[in-house]
Amino acid sequence: MNPVNYLYLAALLFTIGATGVLIRRNAIVVFMCIELMLNACNLAFVVFSRMHGNLDGQIIAFFTMVVAAAEVVVGLAIIVSLFRTRHSASVDDASLMKL
């Protein structure tokens, strides 16, 4: 199979993720969508790595995973504390500050 198709897949996943960020209210889901975007990136890295025949992309993918994991830690901490305060994980509820 042409590796380019994986790129299309990556782009699709990225778009799905981005769309999810834009349309979902629940912070956790939004966050998951971001993770999906990161994964799409990973896929792209791996595909490009394969196409170029060097390992950089695959190594980057590992880094991305680590970073994503760290992000999860931080992100969940924040979201959870928000949830505990407001009893809601909706990102739209958090709109005290505006204008």
Binding site: V21, L22, L96, L99
Partner: protein, 631 residues
């Protein structure tokens, strides 16, 4: 001897400075300081006069250079004085009449608490007037020109607590400013034409300039003269100027300052001689004004305003004469001098009457005063005779000469101008007789004022009557003194030049016609005011009379067009400034504020909409980058 010239000015200037800065401690002696310094100036004038007389006619010009005033590039203005026959004449008139009026004022202003300042202003006026006539260039003349305007302003408005006085003063200054504008434009024209505005270079190069330029200069000088000498169309201030104390009216608004316009034109003879169109304009202005003033003078019941109309008219004669060119210059000045005497005398007489009548100015409230104020009556009477041109008094010689010269202009112009002058003589006789009759003859008509104080007419103190007597002497004899043997003509000719015109009618005819006019004028006046009692309340009068009472509607015109129009203009400009000029700026500010308020709403607090904006931004960024490559 030249060095004395500066002292002429310095003496009254010092007086002004001392009196105005000196403060209250000079209150007691202020009037004497002022009079003394004025007299000192007169004495200097006499010394210089004697000196000039001792010289040949062609060496009778003294100059004194004091310092360079302004010097920028080719623009050179010096403080230099020129004393020649013309300025000498004025110096003597100014300081002489001035000193007399100072003296008179000592009595007249005796009870005024601000007397010190009055004398300060009078001295200031003398200094400025002397500067005007002694200046050797037009810019320095301009200083004197505005200086007398200032003094006039201060003195007209001397009784500032009276709103009418303050308004009159302001009006005088403003109308004069319009004239001054003419003078400054004339100076600028001289500068661009001749590269100088000193008398010497301008007069000597006048022949090199184009007639158009000379005409322009001449017209601008005429405008200046109109302002200062209360000629149509800038005459409206003079009547109101009578709000000032009467000595002021005598000195400034009769004898000296208002004649400055005549001086200016005669002084600029070299320019006018080469600009016939400008000369014509001068004569027209003179003729119109002499009638205008005379008509106004007929209708006024206020003694000072009647005299003011007369002044206007008499100056009209002078201007007319000055416009005639070399045939008229000398007579203009001669009439100026004699007029200085008799008009000053008349005003002082009027002042004396008012002094005795609780400052009443309405002639309809006078009557029969000759019994109460004999000296005033006699001096006033002599002045009256002089002004109407009673034979062999001053006015007879000088006015007659002007009427002759007007006919001598020749052609249709000569007939028209001469006719106007003759008509003026008749009207003069009428209104002056009217004044005389209403004031000194008939029944007494005065009544108690609102406070119940009935006037007790009485003769004025010596300090006031002496100047009146002296001026009466001048009124009687000056004309004869000047004319017999053409003394005045010979004296002035080196400066002004002179030529005999070609009169279509003989001098004797003119004199005869003038006499006829005089008799007619006196007769009508007698018929109206002498034969029957004068009503205490003015009758409604004919249309012309009513118009003349209102200065021939000129003030109404000014009021409607200039004052109202100006108010509308400034008010609408204030509006424009606020709404338009400022509005644009404030509008811009408000516009940004509104834009800000609208843009601000984009920041709605929802993280997801922020994400949308980012996403959109990213898309745009990508699209734009791609587009850039595509282009």
């Amino acid at each position: 001897m030249e060095n004395l010239i500066a002292l002429l000015i310095a003496a009254p200037l010092l007086g002004a400075a001392v009196l105005l800065v000196g403060g209250r401690r000079l209150d007691a002696v202020g009037q004497w300081i002022g009079t003394l310094l004025s007299a000192a100036s007169f004495v200097f004038g006499l010394i210089l006069f004697a000196d000039l007389l001792g010289k040949n006619a062609e060496h009778r010009t003294l100059t004194q250079h004091l310092w360079t005033w302004i010097s920028v590039g080719s623009f050179q203005a010096d403080v230099t004085f020129r004393l020649d026959q013309l300025s000498m004449t004025f110096v003597l008139l100014i300081t002489g009449v001035g000193s007399l009026i100072h003296l008179y004022s000592v009595g007249y202003m005796e009870h005024d608490e601000r007397r010190r300042r009055f004398f300060g202003y009078l001295n200031l006026f003398l200094a400025a007037m002397l500067l005007l006539v002694l200046a050797d260039n037009y810019l320095l003349l301009y200083v004197g020109w505005e200086g007398v305007g200032l003094a006039s302003y201060l003195l007209i408005g001397f009784w500032q607590h009276k709103p009418s006085a303050a308004t009159a003063a302001k009006k005088a200054f403003l109308v004069n400013r319009v004239g001054d504008m003419g003078l400054s434009i004339a100076i600028m024209l001289m500068f661009t034409t001749f590269g100088s505005f000193a008398f010497g270079p301008v007069f000597s190069h006048a022949g090199d300039a184009s007639e158009g330029k000379l005409t322009a200069i001449g017209l601008m000088l005429l405008l200046a003269a109109c302002g200062k000498s209360a000629q149509v169309p800038l005459q409206s201030w003079l009547g109101d100027a009578m709000e000032g104390p009467t000595p002021v009216s005598a000195l400034i608004h009769a004898a000296t300052m208002v004649t400055a316009g005549v001086y200016l034109i005669v002084r600029s003879a070299a320019i006018f001689n080469l600009a016939p169109d400008a000369q014509l304009a001068v004569t027209v202005v003179g003729a119109v004004t002499l009638l205008f003033g005379a008509i106004v003078g007929c209708a006024k019941d206020d003694i000072k305003k009647a005299l003011a109309g007369s002044t206007m008219s008499q100056i009209g004669y002078m201007i007319l004469a000055a416009g005639l060119g070399p045939i008229g210059y000398v007579f203009a000045i001669m009439h100026l001098v004699t007029h200085g005497f008799f008009k000053a005398g008349l005003f002082l007489g009027a002042g004396s009457v008012m002094h005795g009548m609780n400052d009443e100015v309405d002639m309809r409230r006078y009557g029969g005063l000759r019994k109460y104020m004999p000296v005033t009556f006699i001096t006033f009477g002599l002045g009256y005779l002089a002004i109407i041109g009673f034979p062999f008094l001053s006015g007879f010689f000088s006015k007659d000469a002007i009427i002759e010269a007007a006919f001598a202009k020749g052609g249709t112009q000569g007939w028209i101008l001469g006719g106007a002058a003759l008509l003026g003589a008749a009207i003069t006789a009428f209104y002056m007789t009217r004044v005389m009759l209403m004031t000194f003859f008939g029944e007494k008509r005065w009544q108690p004022d609102e406070n119940g104080n009935e006037p007790h007419p009485h003769e004025s103190p010596k300090v006031m009557t002496i100047p009146m007597v002296l001026l009466a002497f001048g009124s009687v004899f000056a004309g004869g003194l000047f004319s017999i043997g053409d003394r005045f003509l010979n004296w002035l000719e080196p400066v002004t030049g002179h030529s005999e015109g070609h009169s279509p009618i003989s001098a004797a005819t003119v004199t005869g016609a003038t006499m006829v006019c005089l008799v007619i004028g006196v007769g009508i006046a007698w018929a109206q005011y002498g034969r029957k009692p004068v009503p205490a309340v003015a009758p409604r009068g004919s249309l012309l009379t009513r118009a003349a009472r209102r200065d021939l509607l000129q003030d109404d015109f000014n009021h409607v067009v200039l004052v109202r129009g100006g108010e509308h203009l400034t008010r609408s400009l204030v509006y424009v400034d606020h709404t338009l000029v400022d509005g644009v700026v404030n509008g811009t500010a408000a516009g940004f504020g509104g834009l800000s308020g609208r843009l601000r709403r984009v920041q709605n607090g929802f993280a997801r909409s922020y994400a949308v904006s980012m996403f959109g931004g990213a898309a745009l960024l990508v699209a734009a980058t791609l587009l850039m490559r595509a282009v």
